[in-house]
Symmetry: C2
Subunit: 608 residues, 2 copies
C-alpha cells in the first residue's frame, strides 16, 4: 500500500484546502506530463465525468468530492499502465462507504494485526498529521468516505471524544475534510450516566435531553460528522434492553438527537446471548439477529442504519448471507465486512476477500442495502496492514463499496499493478494466487461451513473443540457418528428465516452446496457427497489439499520479485502460514479420525 502511495509523490506536509485543490495537487505530482482542469457540478455529488479535450488535457467535472474520485480514478489507471480514456464517468452505488476502526483510546487495536492505533495513545487522540493525510489519500483513492475512528466497544476514556476531546476530534475532522472523509464516532449508550443521570433509558426525558445537547455540541464542532456508531446490548455493552425498551426505541432516540444536523445513527445488529449454556440446544446463535430485529422492520427512523454483519455468526471463513439482510425491506441497512483478518489468518496467512464478497452479492440484491461498512485492517505499521499483501483487501473493499459489480480479478490486478511493477506473467501468478487464497485457507481450516474450530479469544490456529463447551453459542457437537447442527425446519429452524428460494437451495443435504453443508446440516461421517465421496473422506481430502496448496503458494511467493522491505515480510509470514496450515491440516484430520475411526482412503498420514 505504502508502495503505491509513494508513487503519488505527495508532500505530506502539504495541507489541501478542499477536495478540488487536493485533486489538482495530486494529479500534478502523480501525472506531471498531463494537464487537468476541474469543473464543479454540484448535481453530480460524489460522481464524476471526465473527458479528454482537443488539446489533450483532461477536464474533470463533479461535485467537490466527485472531482477527487475522478482524479484518483485516472491516477489508478495511469499507474496501472493503462491508456487514459477519452471519457470516463462514474458515481458510487452507495452513499456511505465506511471504515470502522476498532481502535481504543489507550492506543491498542481490538483485532488489530498491523501495530498500534493510528489515532490514539495514552487515552487521547495522538497522531502523525502526515500519516493522517496519507490515510486520507488511501481512503479517497478508493472512494471511502466515512471513518469511524474508535472501537465499537467503547472503553473509557473513549467517551471523551464527545466531551473533553471534542476539540482535538474537530481538528482531526478538519484534517480529513479535504479528502472527502467524514468522521464518525462509536458511542457508549450509557454515557449519560457519567453525568449524574441515573439511567440511560432512551424514553427518559433527561437522557433524551443529554443526547440532544451533546449532539448539538458535537455538531457545532464537526458540522459534517457522519454520525454515531452504536453497539448496544451486545457482549456486555449497555443498551435499551436494560430498560425494557427495544432497539428501535434506542436508535430512534439517538437519531432524533442528530437529525437536525443530517447525522446518521449506525446501529449494529450484533446481538446474541453471549452467556449461552452449551447444554442448551434450543438456542441457535445465528438466529438471534433476526429474532431481535425482524419484527422491528419499519419502526426505525429514516436516519437510522442497521449495520448487519455479512453472516449470521461473526466473520467466519464460510457463512451464508445473514437472513436479516434479505428480510428488512423497510429499514436502511448496511452490510458489515471485516478487513481485519480476525478469523482469517491475522494478516499472517494469505486471505484475499474479494471472491467471498462477490459470493455475498450473488444472494444479496444490491438495493437491499444502502451502505457498506468494513472493520479496518490498518494500523501504525509502516505498511499500514502488517502483511503487504493484506492491503489488497483494503483496496478492493473501496472499489466494491463504490460498485459491488466490480470484478474481483480486475480489482486485484489493478492493486498489484499499482503496488509493484511486475512482469505480466508474475503479475498473473500473484493475482491467481491471491484470488485462490481464501479457498485454500478454507480448505485447511474448519470443514464445510462449520466454523469456530479456532483457538478461543485469539482466533488464530486450530482448536477443534476450543469453543465447544463455552458460552458463545458456537458448537459443532461432533461425536463418533456425526457432526454439525441441523438448522433446517426439522432442526433449529434457522433456515426458515430465509426466503423460499434460499430455503430450497440449502434445506436438502443432497442438494445443498457442499461448502455450506455443515452449516445447515448434521450429518454422519458416512454421508455420501454429490461426487460420491463420504463426508469424512471429503474432510480429509480438503485438509490435505489445503496444506498442499499452501506449499505450492509458498513456492510461487518465493519466486516472485517483491522488493524489500516487502519481500522479507511476505516470505517470513509465508513460513508462518505453512506452519499454521500444517497444524490445521493434521489437527483437524486427527480430531475427526479419533471420532470417526475412518482411515484415509489414500493412505496419507493421519496422526493418532
Amino acid at each position: 500500500m505504502k508502495a503505491w502511495l509513494s508513487r503519488l509523490n505527495a508532500d505530506l506536509s502539504f495541507v489541501p484546502g478542499s477536495p478540488e485543490e487536493l485533486a489538482l495537487y495530486d494529479l500534478s505530482r502523480a501525472l506531471p506530463d498531463v494537464s487537468f482542469k476541474t469543473e464543479i457540478v454540484q448535481d453530480l455529488g460524489e460522481g464524476y465525468r471526465i473527458r479528454r479535450e482537443a488539446d489533450g488535457s483532461f477536464c474533470i467535472s463533479g461535485g467537490p468530492t466527485g472531482i477527487l474520485y475522478g482524479a484518483y480514478a485516472l491516477i489508478r489507471l495511469a499507474f496501472a499502465g493503462e491508456e487514459l480514456p477519452e471519457s470516463l464517468s462514474s458515481s458510487p452505488r452507495y452513499s456511505l462507504r465506511m471504515l470502522n476502526c476498532w481502535d481504543n483510546a489507550d492506543g491498542s487495536v481490538e483485532r488489530g494485526y498491523s501495530g498500534r492505533s493510528l489515532f490514539f495513545e495514552n487515552g487521547r487522540l495522538q497522531y502523525d498529521p502526515g500519516r493522517m493525510r496519507e490515510l486520507g489519500r488511501l481512503m479517497a483513492s478508493v472512494g471511502l468516505n466515512v471513518l469511524c475512528i474508535n472501537n465499537v466497544n467503547v472503553h473509557f476514556p473513549a467517551q471523551l471524544l464527545l466531551e473533553d476531546s471534542l476539540g482535538d476530534a474537530a481538528s482531526l475532522a478538519d484534517l480529513f475534510r479535504p479528502f472527502g472523509v467524514r468522521l464518525m464516532f462509536s458511542i457508549d449508550f450509557s454515557q449519560p450516566m457519567l453525568h449524574q443521570i441515573p439511567t440511560a433509558d432512551p424514553l427518559d426525558p433527561a437522557v433524551q435531553a443529554w443526547w440532544k445537547e451533546t449532539a448539538a455540541s458535537v455538531y457545532r464542532s464537526i458540522p459534517d460528522l457522519a454520525g454515531f456508531l452504536v453497539k448496544a446490548d451486545s457482549e456486555g455493552r449497555p443498551g435499551p434492553f436494560t430498560y425494557g425498551r427495544n432497539h428501535a426505541d434506542g436508535a430512534n432516540m439517538l437519531a432524533e438527537a442528530v437529525r437536525p444536523y443530517g447525522g446518521f445513527i449506525v446501529w449494529r445488529c450484533f446481538v446474541y446471548n453471549c452467556r449461552q449454556d452449551w447444554r442448551d440446544t434450543k438456542t441457535d446463535r445465528p438466529m438471534s439477529a433476526w429474532d431481535h430485529y425482524a419484527s422491528l422492520d419499519g419502526l426505525f427512523a429514516d436516519n437510522v442504519i442497521l449495520q448487519i454483519k455479512h453472516g449470521p455468526f461473526d466473520f467466519q471463513v464460510r457463512e451464508p448471507l445473514s437472513p436479516l439482510l434479505l428480510g428488512m425491506k423497510k429499514t436502511n441497512l448496511a452490510m458489515e465486512l471485516q478487513l481485519a483478518q480476525e478469523y482469517t489468518g491475522h494478516q499472517i496467512d494469505l486471505y484475499t476477500m474479494m471472491p467471498m464478497w462477490q459470493e455475498l452479492f450473488e444472494e444479496l440484491p444490491e438495493n437491499n442495502i444502502m451502505s457498506l461498512a468494513a472493520v479496518s485492517n490498518l494500523g501504525r505499521d509502516g505498511n499500514y496492514t502488517g502483511h503487504p499483501l493484506a492491503a489488497v483487501n483494503f483496496f478492493t473493499y473501496g472499489l466494491l463499496a463504490w460498485d459491488p459489480k466490480t470484478d474481483p480479478a480486475a480489482a486485484v490486478s489493478q492493486w498489484i499493478r499499482l503496488t509493484w511493477s511486475f512482469p505480466r506473467e508474475e503479475e498473473q501468478k500473484l493475482s491467481a494466487l491471491l484470488l485462490s487464497s481464501r479457498r485454500i485457507y478454507e480448505k485447511y481450516t474448519a470443514p464445510l461451513g462449520i466454523g469456530w474450530m479456532v483457538n478461543p479469544h485469539d482466533h488464530y490456529g486450530p482448536n477443534p473443540s476450543g469453543y465447544e463447551y463455552d458460552v458463545w453459542g458456537t458448537y459443532h457437537k461432533a461425536n463418533r457418528d456425526a457432526v454439525g447442527i441441523d438448522r433446517t425446519a426439522g432442526g433449529t429452524g434457522f433456515i426458515l428465516q430465509y426466503p423460499d428460494s434460499l430455503q430450497k437451495k440449502y434445506e436438502d443435504p443432497e442438494t445443498c452446496p457442499d461448502l455450506y453443508l455443515l452449516f445447515y446440516h448434521r450429518l454422519p461421517y458416512t454421508f455420501r457427497m454429490k461426487d460420491g465421496r463420504t463426508l469424512i473422506q471429503r474432510i480429509y481430502d480438503d485438509h490435505f489439499e489445503g496444506y498442499a496448496d499452501t506449499l505450492a503458494m509458498s513456492e510461487i511467493i518465493r519466486s516472485l520479485p517483491f522488493p524489500e522491505p516487502d519481500r522479507s515480510v511476505i516470505v517470513s509470514r509465508m513460513e508462518m502460514q505453512l506452519h499454521n496450515a500444517k497444524e490445521w491440516c493434521d489437527i483437524i484430520n486427527t480430531f475427526f479420525r479419533r471420532l470417526s475411526g475412518a482411515d484415509d482412503l489414500h493412505g496419507r498420514i493421519i496422526y493418532d
Copy 2:
C-alpha cells in the same frame, strides 16, 4: 489464618531482637497466665525440650530457633484447647523447610490466588513491615525456616535483588531473622550477561568470577542467606544446555560461589521439552526429569540440592511419585509441593492437600530427601490465602516438613481449633469435609490419573482437549475406542524408571490401583475395572458422584458457624465451586460419551 494469628495478641510494631526474645514475647501475650523461662542449648539446634517445673512454670530449652519452635508448639496446644503437657520435645525431620514464593518484581504473583505480592511492587521490594512480622510468625509457628521471596521465573528487574536492591533485601532479611526465617533468592542463570560478559557458560572463568564476586557481595549483606534457587533450561529459562554443559556443571559452579558462606544451591529439576510436537509419540514428558538427571547422581556438590516436583508432570491432582525422588541416592534432594492451587481449584474449590502428601510418603522413604519445599499460597489478601480454608494447606505443610509422619486428621483438626472455636461436632464435620475435599475434586475433574483436562494457561475449569494438540507434552489421545498413554515397558517405558516393586504395583492394568489406571495405561472404554464396572461407566460414576459430593459439601459449609468476614467468602466460593463441579461433571461425561457412544447405565443425563 488471620484469625488464629490475632489470638497471639502481638503488637506488630514490636521488633524482636532474637528468636528467644520473640518466643518470650509471644508466650507472654498469648498465654499471660503461665510463666516461661528459656535456656539456650546450642546442641539442640532447631529442636526443643520443654518441661513443666515444680512451680508450674515451663522451661523451654533449645537452640535459639528451637526455643521459638517450642514456644509455638505450646501455644498451638493451648489454643487448640489441650492440656499443656508435663514435657514435650521435638526436632525437625528436615533442616530446610522452604517456602517458594512465585512473586514478581512488578507485584504480580505467578499462580497467585490471594492477591498481589506481599514483598514487591513497581519493580522493587515494597512491603508492610507489620505484615512481614505476621508472616514471620506464620512461618515460625509451623516451623518453616526458608523463604524464597521471588519467582523462579526471574523476570527483569528481579535480578536486582543481588545488586541495586541488595540493601533493601538485607533489611528484609534482618526483619525475618528473629523469626528463624532465612531468605533465599531465585536467580537468573544468565545474569552475568547483564554485565558485559558475553556468555553464561558455567565453565567460563569470567562467569565463575562474576558469581563468586556477586555471592561475596550478597553474603556480606545477608550472612545467613539460605542460598539461591535456580530454574534453568526450563520453559524458556536460560541454563547450562545453551553451552553444551550439564546441570551438574551449572549447579556446581554456583555451589562453589556460595560454599564459603554455607549457602545452598537449590536446583529445580523441572526440565522437559516444552516445544513438543503433539504428533511425536516417542517423547513422554514424565520421563524427562529422570532422563536429564539420573545419570548425574553423585556428581553434584554437597551444597547442591535438587528440588524435584512430587510428581513427574506438574502438580496434577493425581500423579505417581516422581521416579527421580527414588533413584538419586547420592544426591541431596528436596521434594517440591505446591500450596498454590494452580491445578487444584485456584483457592476457590476446596482442596486440602495433607491426604495427598501422606500418600506420597507411603512410597517415598523419608530419608531419600533432605528437605521439603512448597510453592506459597500466600498473597496480600487480608486473610493471606484468598480462601480462608486454603490456609489449612499452609499450616499442615509446616507440620509435614517438620515431621512427615504427622497425622493428617490430627493436623487438620488442630488447624480448625486454632482458627475457629467450633463445637466439637461442627469441628468434626469440617475436618471430615476438608479431608475428603481432594478426592471429591479429583472425582469431578480428569479421570483416573489422566490429568491435564483443564483450560490451558489459566488452569481452572474443564477443557478436555485444551492441551491435546499443544506443545506441552500432556496428551490423553482419547479416541472413539480408548484413552490414555501406555507408559509400561511395552509403551513409552516410563514405568521402567521405578524400582521393581513399584513397577509391579502399576504395570498390570488388572492390578494397578484404579486411581492411577489412566496414568500408566491406555485402555478401551470397555475395560473391566476390578469391581466389574466398565472404564466408561466408572468415569461417568465418578463424575456424577463428584458433583453430588460437592452439593453435599455445600450443605455442610452453609450449616457451619463460620464468623464473618470468613463466612461470606467461604459461602460465595462454595457457590463458585458448585458451578465449576457441574461444568466439569457434564463436560467430561459429554466428552467421553461423544467419543465412546456409551450410555450411562443408570440413565442419568449426559448432554449431547
